[in-house]
Amino acid sequence: MAMKSSGEESEHFALITRAKSGDGRAFEDLARREERALYRHAARIVGPGPDAEDVVQDALLSAWKSIHAFEGTSFRAWLFRIVTNRALDRVRARRRRPELPLEPADDEDVIWAEPAAPGPDLATIAASREALTVVEEALRGVPEEQRAALLLRDVEGFAYEEIAIMTSVEIGTVKSRIHRARVAVRNALVERGWTGPAG
């Protein structure tokens, strides 16, 4: 997440104030700055394409309608909260039989895959497109609540406290979700022959 200069920050707050007072153009300016990030986040939860675009569009319209209710300091976090919840709702609605989110009893139970044989380390595979494809594939196999938390942390750079507020769960749950999702991605890489930095 890029740091803002004091000038940009004051301009940002001025836009928020104007948007809260009903200035549609100010809201458009604010939303346009996050449009792409919101889309990539939604796309990695519901899958890229029209569904993800609809999620973001609906979320932004909903954000505009409830702009008067925005009280926090981070407009970005507020938008991500709305988009994340919409995207998770969309995934749940797709299922024929809704499943209860499976939260682990203990993070010590997480299985860590072991490399079958010595392979390339991260420095070698990070530059390859294949590694990123493996990560994308592995993410798709992670339960969406865990995936959303991990993406909010590793891609968007939000703090655990912010993610807890955004997803309306305890901070311990956020901690667990991020850890499990990250280990799942790590395991997918290990299964492809990656031995880790120490390997």
């Binding site: 458009e28 990695r44 997480v110 990123l132 590793d154 991020i178 890489l189 120490a198």
Partner: protein, 235 residues
């Protein structure tokens, strides 16, 4: 090997600086003596870096709703542009049809009209040329009655003269070419009673008589109407 239990479950939170001070100290103490947990921590750090390096994804359309008020003049302007496009299409078709009708009547009218030029070349004298315009008028009147009405001074001539003018005109290619220009406005040519002058005027038709001008105008106004329509719909 460390004597304390592994801290694998805490490694992600430790990596993200999300542990309370006491927990962080405990993890650090364990890491100092456990190579296995240090290796796991390094793996998680690199995994997080890879996730952060995933390629960006871009939407295919604008996702931010248009909330700024639409100018009041936009809707009337769209209607105006649509009408202008429709009228231009009509004018294009009309002018193209008029031009085609003129071309069809060329077969009879043009050859006769240009008889003054063709006849001398064929007969070798100015005597045969004199009655030709009259014959041309009679011939033109078959397809364009208005021409006949507008030329009351036209004197009917024997059929022999008319057919002679026709054959001589068709035999002279230069005359036929000159006549082609005159055919687009045969009425003018007839009413003026001067084939040479009228063919001169029609050789350079103005923009108002060129059908393609209307077509271009129709496309331009149509595109404007479409753009305005899309802007109004997205509002």
């Amino acid at each position: 090997m460390s004597s304390t239990p592994h801290v694998r479950a805490q490694l992600s939170a430790y990596l993200d600086a999300a542990l309370a001070t006491a927990d962080r100290n405990a993890v650090e103490a364990h890491l100092a003596s456990c190579t296995d947990c240090r290796a796991r921590l390094a793996e998680l750090r690199d995994t997080a870096s890879l996730i952060g390096a995933l390629p960006d994804l871009a939407p295919t359309r604008r996702l931010v709703p248009r909330l700024a008020p639409v100018p009041v003049w936009l809707a009337p302007l769209r209607t105006l542009a649509t009408l202008a496009s429709g009228v231009s299409v009509f004018l294009f078709i009309a002018s193209a049809l008029l031009a085609n009708i003129g071309t069809l009547s060329a077969g009879s009218a043009t050859t006769a009209l240009n008889a003054p030029a063709a006849a001398p070349a064929a007969s070798g004298g100015g005597v045969a040329a004199a009655p030709a315009p009259a014959g041309g008028l009679a011939s033109a009147s078959a397809t364009t009655p208005r021409g006949a009405i507008q030329a009351p001074s036209a004197t009917p001539q024997p059929n022999a003269d008319t057919s002679k003018a026709f054959t001589t005109a068709s035999a002279a290619p230069t005359a036929a070419e000159a006549a082609r220009g005159a055919t687009s406005v045969p009425n003018d040519a007839v009413s003026n009673g001067a084939g040479d002058r009228s063919s001169h005027e029609v050789a350079n038709p103005g923009p108002a008589t060129n059908p393609w001008v209307w077509l271009v105008l129709a496309i331009v106004t149509g595109a404007i109407a479409l753009a305005l329509h899309r802007r109004l719909r997205s509002a």
